[in-house]
Amino acid sequence: MRWLLLKDLQILRRSPLLVALLVLYPVVIAVLIGFALSRGPDKPEVAFYNGLAGQSAVVELGGDRIDLAQQGQRLFDAIDPVRVNSRKEAIQKVRDGDVLGALIIPRDLATNIQSSLEPGTVEVYYNAEDPAKRQFVENTIKAQVQTANGALTKRVAKEALQLLDLISSGGQYTFLGQSFDVLGLKRAESILSRARAELPAGSPERAELDRVIAFGKLARENLSFSDDVLAVVGEPIRVKATALDGGTTSLTSFAVALAVAVSLMFITLLLAAGTLALEREENAFARLVRGLVSKTGLLAEKAALAAGCSVVVCLVMMAGLGLFVDLDWGRFPLWLAALAVGALAFAALGLAIGGLTRDVRAASLLAFMLCLPLAFLALVPSGAVAPVLYDVIRAVSAVFPFKPSLDALDAALNDAGGLGGPLLHLAGLTLAFGALGRLALRRFA
């Protein structure tokens, strides 16, 4: 078997294009993913017209002073503002394609917010040429405006609560620099009670005062619930997130496992299917199995070659990714186990493909065509499709090695779930596809 292995390595060495692809593939993938993970998307250029420029942008709410210009500055963490001098110029820049969008702060924003009668409105214009970036800008601006709204709402609610407390209990209130003494319901009730006591017992005014006192008491008692109501208005929907299933792997770490699993699949499937089909294409199969090598031995050699090459390539790829992403090298033995067992399962599948197709081109094409849908199906999340369809997808994913390989690599790389289950699953698939490949060799000569 070792001589066959040596022969296949010699053939690989004589196929510079294939070897170049095998070497370049992980490097390019590693670099691309590394850049994708280490750098966020560039800040989109957004035209920014500040109508508040040159005038006071300070709003006084509940005794607090809010600088709207400072609040707006938060937006610039997510966008690259192109400052313009007018609303018209901002819109023109969007139309000309100079910027992705325009954000316009109107002149009356501060006044409207201060009045508490009308909402302050900011205008946003989009450039729809690039939907991905448009979505990004839209989401970014919406998120920032919501944040600002949240802060303002809390302050408005706080001021409203203070006013209600003033109505209920009375006290000092300052407006436009002048101080007022507000009586309040509580003190009014007290004054009315004293006035009632001084009236004659049979006086008809006494009954009238009783009604006023009862109203004041009722109003004061109900106003005590207003803080809860206003708190709800200030934060209409509260979100409590609870994860019922799934690990705690970050998107970055999962992306590494995914990239490695995809590479492992592509390389192993193509090599195993191609090298087995090549034996028939070169007419060497009959000569080999005529007592020189057993059919099972031939399959084992191809599996070892394909798995060995892909494991090496994937380790190189992981080393490349390690330059961009923190990988726990202390878990290296687990990586190796996941890679080796996953590669063997893919190799067995590749051998079945090579045995069934009996032609290098057909084998390569089928292997390639299988790869992408398998990866896609394995990544369909629950809830994204109808429950019945999701069950079908899970079943299909379970009979091919991609999903368990991804699970194994995720567990090995990120300590996400147990490694034993996926490895056992892969071992079962290796045996099943190995047996299928062996059967397929019956029609191989």
Binding site: N283, A284, A286
Partner: protein, 236 residues
């Protein structure tokens, strides 16, 4: 017939592919240095017979009654790795054949096939004739008593064919039993000691080319015409 000088003998071989009978009770034997040509129309069962003799397929009935020390198998299409050089192909199969001294065996085959100068060339760059010589050399690596060749000169030009037959005759001269299937009736007439004529899996004739001519009984015909006449006479 099956004496001490017989290197390969088969009795009443039958092979079926589903309902189709590819071989119908075919027997043969061959001795050292003998050249046996298997001829017949397309689908006669020539390749099936050779593949059973080579051990690639098992007969449904019948058996090989005399098994040689080794059987070299040369398939119709060269079973070689195009990306490997001539020498590397020979080394690979010498090792797989477990030759005790692969280097010496490869050197001997390079001499025998007259391909020493092309030893470092990739097989994919060789002409069809040279490729067939490597193909045959691989069949000879284990120094088999019997060499089986399936259409060895197919797709070769006359010069390449001539060089190939020089090579095969040299092997037979050294005592190797050569059994070959061919469509080229002239090659059978010219080089074979014995002919096996197959049609629809049935052995119609087993003897020398001269015996075939005598059986046809016509004079003034060349061997190919006599062969066609023979088939007509047998309803083929």
């Amino acid at each position: 017939m099956e004496t001490a000088t017989v290197t390969l003998a088969a009795r009443e071989l039958v092979k079926r592919y589903g309902d189709r009978v590819a071989l119908r009770r075919v027997s043969l034997s061959a001795g050292p240095g003998e050249l046996v040509a298997v001829i017949g129309p397309n689908g006669a069962g020539k390749t099936t017979l050779l593949s059973i003799l080579a051990g690639i397929q098992q007969p449904d009935e019948g058996e090989l009654t005399v098994l040689p020390q080794g059987v070299g198998w040369v398939p119709q299409q060269a079973a070689l790795y195009g990306k490997l050089t001539v020498e590397e192909n020979l080394f690979l199969f010498a090792r797989l054949e477990r030759c005790p001294d692969p280097r010496a065996t490869v050197d001997r085959m390079l001499e025998l096939s007259d391909l020493r100068e092309r030893a470092r060339d990739q097989v994919s760059t060789l002409s069809g004739g040279n490729r067939q010589r490597v193909n045959i050399a691989i069949g000879l690596l284990a120094e088999p008593e019997v060499l089986l060749l399936d259409e060895p000169s197919a797709a070769l030009d006359p010069r390449q064919r001539s060089r190939l037959w020089e090579f095969i005759l040299r092997l037979a001269g050294e005592g190797t039993t050569v059994i070959y299937a061919t469509h080229n009736v002239q090659e059978a007439d010219r080089y074979a000691n014995q002919l096996i004529v197959l049609a629809d899996g049935e052995r119609l004739f087993y003897g020398s080319p001269r015996e075939l001519e005598q059986e046809v009984g016509t004079t003034g015909l060349d061997f190919e015409e006599a062969f066609v006449e023979f088939l007509h006479g047998r309803g083929h």
